[in-house]
Symmetry: D2
Amino acid sequence: MVPTSIRVIYGDTDQMGVVYYANYLRYFEAGRSEFLRARGLTYRDFEEAFRLRLPVAEAGVRYRLPARYDDLLTVETSLVQVRRASARFEYRVVRPDGAALATGHTVHACVDLDGRVHRMPRDLLDRLADGEPPTPGPTQE
Amino acid sequence: MVPTSIRVIYGDTDQMGVVYYANYLRYFEAGRSEFLRARGLTYRDFEEAFRLRLPVAEAGVRYRLPARYDDLLTVETSLVQVRRASARFEYRVVRPDGAALATGHTVHACVDLDGRVHRMPRDLLDRLADGEPPTPGPTQE
Amino acid sequence: MVPTSIRVIYGDTDQMGVVYYANYLRYFEAGRSEFLRARGLTYRDFEEAFRLRLPVAEAGVRYRLPARYDDLLTVETSLVQVRRASARFEYRVVRPDGAALATGHTVHACVDLDGRVHRMPRDLLDRLADGEPPTPGPTQE
Amino acid sequence: MVPTSIRVIYGDTDQMGVVYYANYLRYFEAGRSEFLRARGLTYRDFEEAFRLRLPVAEAGVRYRLPARYDDLLTVETSLVQVRRASARFEYRVVRPDGAALATGHTVHACVDLDGRVHRMPRDLLDRLADGEPPTPGPTQE
């Protein structure tokens, strides 16, 4: 698990006085990006070095407690499954007092720059797995 | 089903040249709002007249094909289930050529202005159901 | 002047109960895009046909009255000046009752796809000017 | 001057491959919020303790160089003028190599919770000025 800090700005809130629901997907992205950085690669490298992309195929969020303006949130990001050509991340958004405000997941396809499904490179898999073994999916080789 | 038109602006896209994944939840909200308006009530009325809110408890999206800058999208919004104190909407985002770019859902709790779970008023249920019978949930009375 | 309708969604508001200040720049962009469409060209065409871009060099907004959730706003967009390699748009965001909520402007450079300043093509100038003569700038030829 | 770090996420970029122009106003807000925190008060406190708000009356940005995905930006925020019932902040967004990508300003009115213009409290002025004397405006008393 890799933690990422997020300070809620006014622009993240809505008139209900809480963080607007779509913004959790932005927080998840920030968490995912820091997860990759903690594994020694940036998503920018990913595109440039591997000539691959990881577009989101699926996303889901469960909203448990509202986040509010100026809250210092932590997005806890885990890579929970890597398959031949996809990966699944899970996220918890927690407050300093430990309360889990939201949980969610994203599933990413691995595609080349022309958008065709592409097998995850072994080198990438090794680096992603570094320090925290993701669950191998049944179709991973 | 209630259709809502959305014109994709530059600010909705990301550097992959497609609509950023979080923005579909904004599109869903626009669809939901127009759904309520087509039923003769606005979400603003909902808060003011019924003294209730419908915060999102859960959201999910499946991304099938990318939406691009200047696309004229239609969000097709349906209310598929109403329970005693919750409601589930489903969404399809389609292009003029009929291609479904994304599908998704949101589940909303019905709460009062203090955030306590509150039974959906009968009057509200009648208006929501107008023209398109939602599937009654097992706990609805 | 070209009018564009914008329905304020929840995601546009902040906890002060009004539209968040950055979102007016999104509204301006929607207005600018419809302005070009009304002149028979889309910004997408602009990039593809002319191989040019119009990045924003400067933007300003004066906030006069707050816009609120579910307001049906009109962005009134005018092209007020075209120079050799730049253009200035002005915007008014008005409510149905005619109240001007915000006014603003953007200045755009004309650059080629490598980012170098490029003279506005005559054909483009003619189309932009169609129906509403912008003020020629002193350096325009 | 108070510095604030911002990591550019994918959701901040647009299809031109650079940060979308409206997002600089979000960055400015983050900078302003950290500026207040560095002065020992949060904007949340401001609303709760002083029963006042600082809505934006005017904003402007000059875009000099594009910010890109994953850039680690610094927003340098200064309070440059405090008048009887308004304040002006200025911002520079810089890259680690020192390049100034954008500069801008915001002017804020001081209003009470009913939206009426309200004189800046002396206690607030003292705290804002702490460590960095803002230029007193001509109408300040």
